[in-house]
């Protein structure tokens, strides 16, 4: 049941990224590039996605997940240096290539060699992240 629901969620996510044009890097960079020929599409995608999710969060009150367990609570309630540094690094990469993790996976079948190189580099970055995060923690505590 958990696998089936995960498969359905992933399929909906993939269909949404495909239909919205978010696997097209020119549309993502076009939204980030406010000084260029600005493309508003990403704002509609974000707004459209937030609506059903906001309803879903409301529905989590007074019930449990369909497959049991508990709903997630925010894991790190505080704003910390990791959140800021990590988001800035992520944003830099996102702006450079126009791909974030979801679309990078969704476009695997038509993203060509470049898409595969991006995905592999991203996974290498993910493997390096725990070590880099530890170094950042030491820098932050020394500062």
């Amino acid at each position: 049941m958990r696998f089936l629901l995960a498969l359905i969620a992933g399929a909906l996510f993939g269909a949404g990224l495909f239909l919205s044009g978010m696997t097209d890097t020119t549309k993502v960079q076009g939204w980030l590039d406010v000084f260029g020929n600005w493309d508003p599409t990403l704002a509609f995608v974000m707004g459209g996605a937030i609506l059903p999710m906001a309803v879903a969060w409301k529905l989590t009150a007074a019930r449990k997940p369909l497959t049991g367990g508990a709903f997630p609570t925010p894991s790190h309630p505080e704003l910390d240096h990791r959140l800021i540094t990590g988001s800035v690094l992520f944003g830099m990469g996102w702006g450079l290539a126009g791909l974030c993790p979801g679309p990078a996976m969704a476009s695997l079948s038509y993203g060509g060699l470049g898409g595969v190189i991006f995905l592999v580099s991203m996974m290498v970055g993910m493997a390096l992240a725990p070590g880099i995060g530890g170094k950042l923690d030491r820098l932050a505590s020394a500062a």
């Binding site: 498969l7 894991s75 959140l83 944003g91 996102w94 969704a106 970055g125």
Partner: protein, 142 residues
């Protein structure tokens, strides 16, 4: 072109529906970087099957939809592989250190009015916008 925002809205609703299924069904936050990253660094070993099923669905629907309706589709990704590798590394390291990306912090975080999600989103959008100013308008590289 002028229809793009409608497709954006329709696609966005499907993305949010996927997140709702994952949350209400499995009690998990639909964050692309977390789902993949947990498989890469081993922290998600206990839920590896569920993560793999999600990624299978995520890769499969665009494959089928593109084959049926848009065989000519491309991501228009730059062919400068140095830029691609640098960007991939930054996205991988950054999303895991920040513990979320556009789907986890953006879609799932903002919709629950999480301060962390909102702050993360502001910073990655500002950083992304600055990269376009710097590398497109000033340096002309991308």
């Amino acid at each position: 072109m002028e229809m793009d925002w409608i497709w954006g809205l329709v696609g966005g609703l499907l993305i949010g529906l996927g997140g709702a299924v994952y949350l209400l069904g499995n009690g998990r936050i639909m964050g692309a970087s977390g789902i993949l990253g947990g498989l890469v660094d081993g922290t998600g070993r206990g839920s590896a099957g569920e993560r793999a099923a999600f990624i299978l669905g995520l890769v499969a629907t665009p494959l089928v939809l593109s084959a049926l309706f848009r065989p000519d589709i491309t991501t228009h990704l730059t062919d400068d592989y140095a830029v691609v590798i640098a960007a991939g590394l930054l996205v991988g390291v950054g999303t895991r250190i920040a513990n979320g990306c556009t789907s986890g912090h953006g879609v799932c975080g903002i919709s629950r009015l999480s301060l962390r999600g909102i702050v993360a989103t502001v910073f990655y959008i500002l950083a992304g916008g600055l990269m376009l100013v710097l590398f497109r308008h000033l340096l002309g590289v991308i």
